[in-house]
């Protein structure tokens, strides 16, 4: 029973995107600052008292989704869809039923509604679908709270000055995205899955989509370059010289020497000769402060500093936002408007010992003017610390990201840094070598961003033109050109941003899907055979669907809906027109596609179980196998079946076993990772006499003794 509702009569029902946000909003709006928590069927909601009674109820992200009008999964094309509760369309979403029932009950006694979900496309869709379907078509009469931080002040303001209606342009844009993505995803994924199943009789989920296909295509293009790469030899020459009693390394004027003959000639000419300082070039340059973080640049910086994947950074930032410590993170803005209150934020930050001096320094400035970037977001400013301090000390990842956001925020108000570079030309028998130095003349903003500044100083001694130097050694280095680096999750995210495919809210998740589907593996993203086949099939039978240009055009059209320059219906009709002939073609070639994909799935499954080369026979492969008698899993060599090798090792029978794809650093044997629910994953080397195991045993023995 909803006891509160029965007692209190009419109230305003506020809908939020997540439970944490509901509690923050309810506490902020309650006159006593402490809303009452209630619960029904495990669904929390909050009762706050203000100018009138308020009930705040959360969603848990999307409660509705796009689904096929017909039931069943084994057919395509599917062009008719409807919005349904998620529990009706997804296997793992049973809990959504209780959520919707509670919201619907609370809506009955409400006399006004406010959508307080995050102010972006996804948040707007969440609020809209709940108001329309769970609250009985209240979407047209509902007000909208718009805020960028979950601080009390901003929440009260956004409640008092709530927008009179929902942002229907944003909702239309969101609906278009979900519906177009559904049309692409369901039809292409079903076509591929059904083709593979009909050919092999085995079921394997194969998916692709409007953004997934073009993203995988980037990776495939890079993978092809890497796998076809042939290195080219070149040489570099260095000379060690002595200046003021110290030895310095200098670089030959030509960084790359193309032929061995030329390289040998230079070395021969310089060996045993002394040099003279021919010229000293000194350059000073200013380094402007960085721009504030938008989500993409925060993800990129967190990856390079801490190694966090974009998805992890996104979820840590979301956590900090829900704790009201930073502003809304899913923003593409690099602007910090004065309305956020620079001074108040810095004053609050000065209460943290680590930041007190730095914040005081900024507060002493006559004006606070942030350096801003070009990118804008109509709904939110760049990411900034709210000035609220953690209620309990932050630890680990949350501490790192908060510290990064705080320091970046302070840095954008700093003065430009001044750097100096020195290039000393050393002439050795008419060949020039460069001695390079660099130093910081004025720290400026670098002081605020100090732990995260990646630039080492190279200090040179006092030298003057004409000064003789002694050449201690001339070194010739054999080198080879390198293949372009594989993408990592961070550089792929940047590539997607540059190509303008996907949205800031979905890109990180999309990358994760490529891993989940086993189209790619490893941190330095390598495409699997399955990933190759998916792209080959799409390129061959529906090239338009993996075209980066067409995907970008579609993105632009969907963005125009937000500006009222495009209609959702037009885009949907065009999407169906594009898909119809493609799907017909896929159906016609189903056998051919099925064979191609089935082979790839088989190979992928085999690859998943292959651990590496057998360290005993060096020709077979170690694989995860299952005993016919006991059904237990173990590791065995493939040469066993040829009667050549009997190598086998036991495996833990519980948890997931995943080949690590790299050899043990102690003994070079292949390794696997074991993942057990609720436990930290651990890596396993099969070598019983691995030196690392010996070391570990000794450590344990010493610990036991002490």
């Amino acid at each position: 029973m909803l006891v509160v509702r029965a007692k209190m009569g009419k109230y305003t029902l506020i809908i939020t995107e997540k439970p944490d946000a509901a509690q923050r909003i309810a506490d902020a709006l309650d006159t006593k600052g402490k809303a009452k928590k209630k619960e029904e069927n495990g669904v929390p909601y909050y009762y706050a008292s203000r100018d009138k009674e308020i009930v705040v109820v959360p969603a848990v992200g999307h409660l509705y989704t796009v689904a096929d009008e017909k039931t069943g999964r084994n057919y395509y094309p599917a062009f008719n869809f409807k919005w349904v509760p998620r529990y009706a369309a997804e296997k793992g979403a049973k809990h959504i039923r209780a959520w919707l029932e509670t919201i619907s009950k609370l809506a009955i006694e409400a006399d006004s509604f406010i959508d307080a979900c995050d102010y972006d496309i996804e948040g707007s869709i969440i609020g809209y679908t709940i108001l329309k379907y769970a609250c009985g078509n209240r979407e047209k009469s509902s007000k909208r709270m718009k805020y960028s931080t979950l601080t009390k002040g901003e929440l009260e303001k956004s409640y008092n000055e709530a927008l009179p209606h929902l942002d229907f342009s944003l909702i239309e844009a969101g609906r278009a995205r979900h519906e177009v993505d559904w049309l692409y995803g369901i039809n292409l994924s079903r076509a591929m899955t059904i083709a593979a199943k009909n050919w092999s009789g085995m079921y394997a989920t194969l998916s692709t989509g409007r953004v997934q296909g073009p993203t995988l295509r980037f990776l495939v293009a890079r993978e092809k370059t890497v796998r076809s790469f042939v290195p080219i030899p070149f040489w570099s020459i260095k000379a060690k010289i002595e200046v003021a009693g110290s030895i310095f390394e200098t670089e030959y004027e030509k960084k790359v020497v193309d032929t061995k003959k030329e390289a040998d000639a230079v070395v021969d000419a310089c060996k045993g000769k002394d040099g003279k300082i021919a010229k000293i070039e000194v350059k000073k340059f200013e380094q402007a402060p960085p721009t504030p973080f938008d989500l993409g640049s925060l993800q990129s910086e967190a990856y390079s500093l801490f190694g966090y994947t974009p998805m992890r950074t996104s979820s840590i930032a979301q956590r900090l936002y829900l704790d009201a410590l930073i502003s809304y993170p899913r923003t593409s803005s690099q602007k910090l408007p004065p309305t956020i209150g620079y001074e108040a934020i810095l004053k609050n930050l000065s209460n943290v010992r680590e930041y007190s001096k730095l914040a005081a320094e900024l507060l002493a400035k006559s004006t606070l003017q942030p350096r801003e970037g070009k990118k804008e977001d109509p709904a939110h400013p760049a990411i900034y610390p709210t000035g609220n301090l953690p209620e309990k000390p932050l630890e680990g990842q949350e501490k790192n990201i908060w510290n990064l956001v705080v320091r970046r925020f302070m840095a954008v108000f700093g003065e430009p840094a001044m750097r100096q570079s020195v290039n000393v030309h050393v002439n050795v028998n008419e060949h020039v070598f460069f001695l390079r130095g660099r130093r910081i003349l004025k720290e400026g903003w670098l002081r605020f961003y100090e732990p995260f500044v990646r630039s080492e100083e190279v200090l040179l001694p006092e030298v003057e033109e004409g000064q003789p130097v002694s050449v201690k050694q001339v070194i010739l280095e054999d080198k080879f050109t390198k293949p372009p680096p594989r993408y990592n999750p961070s550089s792929l995210l940047r590539k997607m941003e540059e190509a303008e495919i996907g949205t800031k809210a979905t890109r990180a998740e999309m990358i994760q899907t490529l891993y989940d589907r086993k189209y790619v593996r490893d941190e330095r993203i390598a495409v699997t055979d399955l990933g190759f086949e998916i792209i080959e099939v799409l390129k061959k039978y529906c090239p338009a669907l993996v075209s980066i240009r067409l995907t970008k055009e579609l993105e632009e059209r969907m963005n125009r809906i937000q500006l009222d320059n495009e209609k959702r219906e037009n885009i949907l009709m065009d999407a169906v027109d594009i898909l119809k002939p493609v799907i017909e073609n896929l159906k016609e070639k189903e056998d051919e596609i099925g064979r191609q994909l089935s082979d790839a799935v088989k190979k992928a499954k085999l690859e998943e179980r292959t651990i590496g080369t057998c360290p005993k026979c060096n020709t077979g492969k170690l694989m995860i196998l299952y005993s016919r008698k006991s059904g237990k899993r173990f590791v065995g060599c493939t040469n066993f079946f040829k009667g050549l090798c009997k190598t086998s090792f036991p495996l833990p029978q519980k948890g997931l076993v995943r080949p690590l794809g790299r050899n043990c650093r102690g003994c070079g044997w292949p390794t696997v990772q074991i993942r057990l629910r609720g436990k930290r994953p651990w890596n396993l080397c099969f070598n019983p006499v691995c030196p690392l195991k010996e070391e570990w045993k000794k450590k344990v023995e010493v610990q036991d003794m002490s």
Binding site: S228, F229, P231, I232, P233, T259
Partner: protein
């Protein structure tokens, strides 16, 4: 017809699309190796087959060329 190296369909010169591209690169880069080191085609193949920076498909093509003696 199958590719000389993998089970894919051959498209030209007996190679599949992927190995054909690698073959073309192997052939093209010989000019630069010859200029840099003045080495024979055979020696070039031997060198790139051993080089850890050579891509997987280029290596497969190279090993095939060494074994078969094809140009």
């Amino acid at each position: 017809m199958k590719c000389k190296i993998c089970p894919r369909e051959a498209v030209e010169k007996g190679y599949c699309e992927l190995h054909l591209k690698a073959y073309e690169i192997v052939v093209k880069k010989y000019g630069l190796w010859n200029k840099a080191l003045e080495i024979s085609w055979k020696e070039y193949l031997r060198q790139i087959a051993m080089n850890p920076l050579t891509g997987e498909w280029a290596k497969e093509v190279t090993e095939y060329l060494i074994k078969s003696g094809e140009q």
